[in-house]
Subunit: 638 residues, 2 copies
C-alpha cells in the first residue's frame, strides 16, 4: 500500500492528501461492510485474553484475533501477512464466541480441528469476551529479530554515572534537609535533583540507613536516582521500528549489553506503515494518544522483560524514524503527512522518561538523538553513528533498507542524505508468494542446470519466499535468461509455466513445498522488485551526482537493516540494487540503529557526534528533485 | 488541638509520635462510634452536589455537609468553627436524605425551617446522594481575606519575558523543523523548548499564520509558551495557607496585580492544622495523594477564576509553610512529623506546573522559593522579602503570627529565625466565645467607666470574639484590674460574674448580643491567650538573646498575617505579646507572604535574594533550646 503510494508521491506530491484518504478507504471499507452484514451497527467492546504469554486487549467486537494479539505486541506466526493462506497462526478458542469459519479456515483446518475450537487468528473475529490459547508453534519466537548490530567499539564515557555516598543522619543539631544533606556529601557543584527522585528520597535514605548509590547525569548536572548501595547502573536503548521494536539493556559501567528483547510494534493494529499511522493519528487527539500510549506501553513492557528491576535503569536512548519519534514523544504528526513534510522538532531531545509517560524509572533521563528530515529520522542518525560513517574520511555510501530506505553518502568531508520510498517488497510483501523471514521462507535461491536450488529459514519445507530469496530468484532468473532486461518472463524458457492464466517461474513446485501451492514468481512480482530497486538506486545515483562522483569512487558501501544483512551482495549488484563495485568494499550490518542507540548510552562524545552529523547532513528531497524521474526510469531496467 | 500538642512538643519532643496518635484518636473516635450506631459498618460513597456555586463531592456517607463543602473549597459562613452554636451555616437540602437534626439544630432552627429542609451544614450528615442549595447569606463572601499585603516596590526584571516573532513558512526549499525555525528566528543562543510546548507548536504556528508571541524563561533558557500575537504575559502568585489560599494574577510586563482571589484550603476536610494533615498523609500513599490533589485542584480553580484564559499564565510562584510546600510538590511529609523534623528539600524548586499536576498552562514554570527549616517555610522567606527584612541594615524583628508563628531577627547583618507553636487562640479557636473575623465578630474592645465598648466586623450584632478582640479584651481587663498578673479573674470586680459554675467576664450580655448567649471570657480563655503570647514572646526573647541584644535595640518590628494586621499594638504590648517599644517602630502588614511571592514573579534579583536570605538564616530550634522552658514560663505572666 505504502509502496504504490510512495511512488505516486514521487511524481505527484500535491495529491498526497487525497491519496491518503483513498488509502484509508481501501483499507477499511470491506471490513466495515462485512461487519454491517453480520453484526449490530454499533460495535460493542469485548475483552480478548491470551495465554500464554498473557495479556488482555479491549477491542471492538468483529476484530480479528490477530489484530487483538498485535495490539498487545504478541507476534503470531504468519507467512501470508494475514491473508488466511499460510495456516500458521492457529489458535484455540478456550472460552467465548467467534464468528463462523471463513473459507480460508475451512481450507486450512480439518473439521475435527474446527470442532475443537482451533481457528486461524487472522480470520476469526471475536464476538464476545474470549479467552485464547496460543500453541507454542503459533508464537513467532523463531522469527529472526535483528537485534545484534555491530559490536560496540566506543570509549566508555557515559553521560550517566554512579556514585556511592554515605551520609550522617539528621540530628537536632544538624537539621539540613535530606536533599541538601545528599548534595553536600556529593560535592559536585551545582547539582539538581529531579522531582520524582526528591519524592522518593526521604524514605529511601532512611530505609538504606543513610548509605546509597546515586545516578548522576553529568551534562545535565542532575541527580536521577537514589538506589540501594551496590545496585547496578543500567541503560536502555530502544529502536522503534514501524513494525518491530528492539530493546537492549546495557550496563553503563562496563559498557556490556546484558540482555536484548524484541516485540511487535503494537501500533500495527492502526496501520502497517507510517503513512497509515499518520492518517490514523490525524483522525483526532484520541487516536494520536492511542498510538503514543501503545508504543510507550510496549517499551515499558520490554524494560520489564529485560530486567527484574527496571527502576535500576537511569538513562534511556530511543531512536526511530521521524513519525515513530513524534508519536513516541507525543508530538503531532499532521505536518509530517502534508507537503512539505516537516518535523515538529529536529534537535536532540534530552528529557525524562516520565515526560513521555514511561513508568519504569520516574527519574531516568531519556535521550532522543536529532533527526535529519521528515523522512530521515533519528534512527538513521544512529545508523550513521554505528557505521562510523560520521567519521569516514573516504567516500562511503550507507543504506538502511526498509519500506522507506534512507541513504547517506560521505565524500570529501561532506554528507548528503535522502529518503526513498522503496516499498515493502524486500520484506516479502506485495509479492505473490512473499513472506517474512520466518521458518519455511526461502532465503537463498540458486539456479543451475535448469533447476532452482533453495535454502529455507530453519531448513523447513518451503512455504514462501522472503526478501533475500526473491532478490536471489530475480537475479538468478536474469542470469539464466528467464527474464529480460525489462523484467519480462521469457515464455519460451523451460522454467516458465502458465499458472492461473499468467506466466510464472516456479521455484519450488507444490509437490515439494510445505504448502498446497507452488512457490513461484510472476511478471508482477518482478515489477515490484524493479520498482523497489529503482527507488533505492535512483536515490544512490542522485546522491553521487550531488557529490559530483561516480560509483567507482566509492571506498565502502554499508548496508544495514534486516534485509541488508541477509541479502546476497552479488545478487543485489546483478539486479542493479547496489552499485557494481568489488564485493570486499561491502559491509552488511544487522540492527545498526540499535547499535547506534547503545553507543549514545555509553559515550558523551558520540552524543556530540550525533548532533554534529545531523547538522552536517545535507538533505536531498527526492520528491521535487528535477533529476529523479529520469534516474528512477533508468534504474527500473536490469 | 495543635495548640496543646505544640506545647507538649516543646518539653517532650520524644513523645511526639505517641501524641500524634492520641491526637488522631481523639479527633476521630467519637465520629466513628456515632457512625457505628446509626449506619452500616462500611461507609458507602455518596455524592453531594452544591448550587450555587456549583460543584459535586464524592464523600463517605455520614460526612457533614460542611466537610463536603470544604472538600470543594466552598467556604460556608461559620462563626463557631462547626460547633453548631452560631447558626450561620444554614443550607437547604433540596434532594436526598440527611441524618436526623442534632440538638444544636433543634436549638438554632425553627420547626418550620427544619420541615422545609433547612439544616446546619456543620451538623447534618449526608445519608444518600444529596443536592444542597446554599442561601447567599450562608456563603462566607464577606469574611475578610488577607490578600492585600504591602504594595510592591520592585524593579521590573521578571525571569519570564515575552518576544514577538514572525517566521517564514516552511517550503520545499526550506524544510527546517518547526522548532528550529522558531529558535533560529529568536536567535537568543541556546534555548530549549519545553516538551508540552513542542506538542502544541506545529498547530499553533500554522493557526497563527507563522506569527506568534513566545514566553521565554531567561535563567532557564527555556521557551515556555507560544501564544497568539498580542497575548498578555501573566504570572500567578499563590500563598498556600493551612486554612486559606490566596492567589494573585500579575501582569509580568507592567508588574501590576490584575486580580486577586481567595479560597479555603480544601485539605481542611482532613485536619485543621499541619500536624493532623501530616498524620493523615502518613496513613498511606493514597492519603498523601489526596492532600496533594486537593490543593493542586484548588490552585487550578483559582487560576481559572482569576482569568478567562489561564493558558496565558507563563510563570507561577507558590509559597507555603514546609508541610504545605511538601504536600503541594508531592513530597513525603513523614520526616516532617518525626524528630528532628527535617524537610525533604530546602532549596528553591524551579520546575514546571505540569510536574505537580497543575493543568492550566502545561509549559509554564513553577518557582517555589527555598525554605529555612521544617517549621520555617517558603512562606516566611516570602515574608522576609516583602518586609525587606533581607535588606535591613538596622535591627528588625519580623513576626508572621498564625497557629505556628515564625519570627526572624536581623541584626548586624545576621539573621536568626525560629518557629513557635502559638496555637490558634488568636484565630478565635479554643476560646469559649471565639470565632473568626466574620461579620458579628468583636474585633475591638475598650473598657471605660465600668463598661465594655466593642466594635464588630461589619457592625453586626456581636455573636463572638475574634483574635484582635480577645487580645483587646484581655489587655483592657488587665488595665482595669479585672485580671491580675497571673491571669486570674478578680472575683470581687463588678465586671466578673459567676457563669455556668465558673468566673467569667461578660463583654456583651446576651440581651445585647446577636445570639442567645453572653459574649464573655473565662479564666481558661485568658490561659489560652497566656500560652499563645508566651510562646511568641519566648521565641522573640531567645532570638534577642542569640543576637546578644535587648528590646530597646529594636529599630523596627514588622507584624504580618491576618491577626498581625488587625491587632491593636498597644494591647499587644500591654499583655507582653510584643516588646514594649515606641508605637511608631511597628509596621503591620496584611498577606506579606503573597506580596513576597509577587516580588518573586517580577524580579530575578529578588529570587537571588530569596536564596541568599534562606541560606543566611540561622535557625534556632526551640524544642531543644536550653533556655526555652524558663523564657516560656517567664513570658506567661502579664
Amino acid at each position: 500500500m505504502e509502496h504504490r503510494h510512495g511512488f505516486l508521491r514521487m511524481f505527484r506530491a500535491r495529491s498526497w492528501i487525497k491519496l491518503v484518504n483513498e488509502h484509508v478507504l481501501r483499507r477499511h471499507t470491506p471490513v466495515a461492510q462485512e461487519r454491517h452484514r453480520t453484526m449490530p451497527a454499533r460495535p460493542r467492546c469485548v475483552s480478548v485474553a491470551f495465554e500464554p504469554p498473557g495479556g488482555r486487549a479491549e477491542m471492538a467486537a468483529g476484530t480479528t484475533i490477530l489484530a487483538a494479539a498485535h495490539s498487545l505486541g504478541i507476534e503470531l506466526a504468519s507467512a501470508c501477512r494475514g491473508q488466511g493462506t499460510c495456516g500458521r497462526c492457529r489458535v484455540n478458542v478456550v472460552l467465548g464466541t467467534v464468528g463462523s469459519p471463513s473459507d480460508s479456515e475451512r481450507a486450512q483446518l480439518s473439521v475435527d480441528e474446527l470442532d475443537a475450537g482451533t481457528r486461524l487468528a487472522c480470520q476469526a473475529r471475536v464476538e464476545s469476551d474470549v479467552r485464547i490459547d496460543i500453541p507454542p508453534d503459533s508464537l513467532a519466537t523463531t522469527q529472526r529479530l535483528q537485534l545484534e548490530g555491530e559490536e560496540l567499539d566506543v570509549e566508555l564515557d557515559p553521560p550517566v554515572v554512579a556514585l556511592d555516598v554515605t551520609l550522617t543522619p539528621p540530628a537536632l543539631d544538624d537539621l539540613r534537609a535530606d536533599a541538601s544533606r545528599l548534595l553536600e556529601a556529593l560535592e559536585p557543584g551545582d547539582l539538581q535533583i529531579a522531582l520524582p527522585v526528591l519524592v522518593e528520597l526521604p524514605e529511601r535514605l532512611r530505609a538504606e540507613g543513610w548509605s546509597a548509590r546515586v545516578a548522576i547525569h553529568r551534562p545535565l548536572a542532575e541527580l536521577l536516582a537514589v538506589r540501594p548501595s551496590g545496585s547496578p547502573l543500567l541503560g536502555l536503548a530502544v529502536d522503534l521500528g514501524t513494525t518491530k521494536l528492539a530493546a537492549y539493556l546495557v550496563d553503563l559501567e562496563s559498557g556490556k549489553t546484558l540482555a536484548r528483547a524484541g516485540a511487535m510494534n503494537p501500533q500495527i493494529a492502526h496501520g502497517e506503515d507510517v503513512v497509515s499511522r499518520i492518517a490514523y493519528a490525524n483522525t483526532g487527539a484520541a487516536a494520536r494518544r492511542t498510538l503514543h500510549d501503545l508504543v510507550v506501553g510496549a517499551v515499558d513492557r520490554l524494560a520489564g522483560e529485560l530486567c527484574t528491576e527496571p527502576a535500576a535503569i537511569a538513562d534511556c536512548v530511543v531512536v526511530g524514524n521521524t513519525a515513530m519519534h513524534h508519536l513516541f514523544a507525543g508530538l503531532p504528526v499532521r505536518q509530517l503527512g502534508e507537503a512539505p513534510y516537516v518535523a515538529a522538532v529536529s534537535g536532540a531531545l534530552e528529557i525524562h522518561t516520565a515526560d513521555v509517560g514511561l513508568g519504569f524509572a520516574p527519574g531516568a533521563t531519556l535521550y532522543i538523538p536529532p533527526l535529519i528530515a521528515g523522512y530521515v529520522g533519528a534512527d538513521h542518525v544512529a545508523v550513521l553513528l554505528a557505521t562510523r560513517t560520521d567519521q569516514a574520511t573516504g567516500t562511503v555510501l550507507a543504506l538502511d533498507i526498509g519500506t522507506n530506505t534512507e541513504i547517506s553518502l560521505t565524500h570529501g568531508g561532506r554528507l548528503w542524505t535522502c529518503s526513498t520510498a522503496s516499498g515493502p517488497a524486500f520484506e516479502g510483501a506485495h509479492i505473490s508468494a512473499g513472506m517474512r523471514a520466518a521458518p519455511g521462507a526461502i532465503e537463498r535461491v540458486h539456479y543451475r542446470d535448469g533447476s532452482f536450488f533453495v535454502q529455507t529459514v530453519d531448513n523447513r519445507p518451503a512455504i514462501g519466499i522472503c526478501g533475500s530469496g526473491i532478490l536471489d530468484a530475480v537475479a538468478e532468473a536474469l542470469r539464466a535468461g528467464i527474464i529480460d532486461a525489462r523484467g519480462a518472463l521469457a515464455r519460451s524458457h523451460p522454467a516458465v509455466a502458465q499458472k492461473d492464466g499468467q506466466a510464472a517461474c516456479v521455484i519450488v513446485p507444490a509437490a515439494l513445498a510445505g504448502h498446497r501451492r507452488d512457490v513461484a514468481f510472476t511478471r508482477a512480482d518482478v515489477g515490484e522488485i524493479q520498482l523497489a530497486k529503482a527507488a533505492i538506486r535512483a536515490g544512490t545515483d542522485l546522491l553521487l551526482a550531488a557529490a559530483g562522483i561516480g560509483i567507482s569512487d566509492l571506498d565502502a558501501v554499508v548496508v544495514a537493516g534486516a534485509f541488508g544483512t541477509y541479502l546476497d551482495v552479488r545478487s543485489a549488484i546483478r539486479i542493479g540494487l547496489l552499485p557494481d563495485i568489488p564485493a570486499e568494499r561491502f559491509r552488511q550490518l544487522g540492527n545498526a540503529a540499535g547499535a547506534g542507540a547503545r553507543q549514545l548510552l555509553l559515550s558523551r562524545v558520540r552524543r556530540r557526534a550525533a548532533v554534529k552529523v545531523a547538522q552536517r547532513a545535507q538533505y536531498l528531497e527526492l520528491t521535487t528533485h528535477p533529476g529523479f524521474a529520469d534516474a528512477f526510469a533508468e534504474a527500473t531496467k536490469f
